[in-house]
Subunit: 161 residues, 2 copies
DNA sequence: TATGTAAATGCAAATGACTTGCATTTATTG
DNA sequence: CAATAAATGCAAGTCATTTGCATTTACATA
């Protein structure tokens, strides 16, 4: 897809969701599409700064919140980073497997909870309105990188946990 | 159980986990045991203030963090409150069903993910190190209260969502 | 195409949960 | 009971996120 086509698509997406088509919104959408996974406000800011733009964090947060409200994106708390990440919303209900090293995301479209949840609701008499389900781990690439590192160890920076 | 017995038990619990037996730690432990569910630092502070004590938040956070490290408690991010809650740790792996109104917690000790997770790991070649799973909903009591309220509506305070 | 208007943005300051440094107090050990 | 290592309180700091407000912009309409 050419860059122009991609931009066109972003504009359409915005319009289809009843959102004004502004430069920063297009950029945020583009980055989310490009990465395909989860980005934090800081990730997005950094990427745009590298391209010579510098949107304010307040604007980014407003955009990300808006995208989430309008069902264009999803917001996930990332416990290891103590902040939120955002990703484009998959059609339909799904869960994620997130690599803790590189933040790559695999979408899991089959929800293994449906039947269990029905049973649970009957047993507890709770109305169940939702659930949180995410898996964390280490993707094959990062496993390989990790294995290599321990084969030829280098100075390790004192990065906090 | 008498209050003294309860205190004794708290002291034992602390000692068994290699923790000094201080007043505030005993109080925090007692509150967690009494409530049986999830409490935030603020919940704990409020409860203690009502009893005429006023531990500093820094102390509470230090204690809760310590309890978590030593496996006495568990820490959960509560997305609707945007902060952490703590509960005594159940023996073994388990998940929670949390009432969004009153924060009552039901522990679900059967994890419906085990077999699914194995399959998932094989398919994606990720090393899966953990998962997040919590259900949210409304407990029977709050459902009843809700039903009553709409039958005989009263002035609603402008409490934020 | 010009233009009025609501909405979006940038900026600065605020918020709120949580953390940290340090001086003081306290639980435990000998 | 004294010594001491650890726990606490206090004040100030951190950091993600939010908010108020003045300015700019997208886009519908003239």
């Amino acid at each position: 897809m050419t860059e122009t086509e991609d931009m066109k698509l972003c504009e359409d997406l915005l319009h289809r969701h009843g959102l004004k088509n502004t430069r920063t919104r297009r950029e945020v959408l583009r980055l989310l599409r490009q990465c395909g996974g989860v980005l934090t406000a800081e990730d997005i800011s950094r990427a745009l700064v590298e391209e010579g733009k510098k949107p304010d964090f307040s604007t980014l947060y407003r955009i990300l919140e808006l995208f989430t409200e309008r069902g264009l994106a999803e917001k996930h708390y990332l416990p290891d980073l103590r902040k939120y990440g955002f990703s484009l919303k998959a059609a339909g209900h799904c869960h994620r497997l997130i690599c803790l090293k590189c933040h790559r995301v695999i979408e899991i479209d089959h929800c293994p909870l449906e039947s269990f949840e029905k049973e649970l609701s009957e047993k507890t008499r709770f109305t169940i309105t939702g659930h949180n389900l995410e898996w964390y781990g280490c993707c094959p690439d990062c496993q390989a990188a990790e294995a290599e590192k321990s084969a030829a160890p280098e100075r390790r920076s004192g990065k906090k946990k």
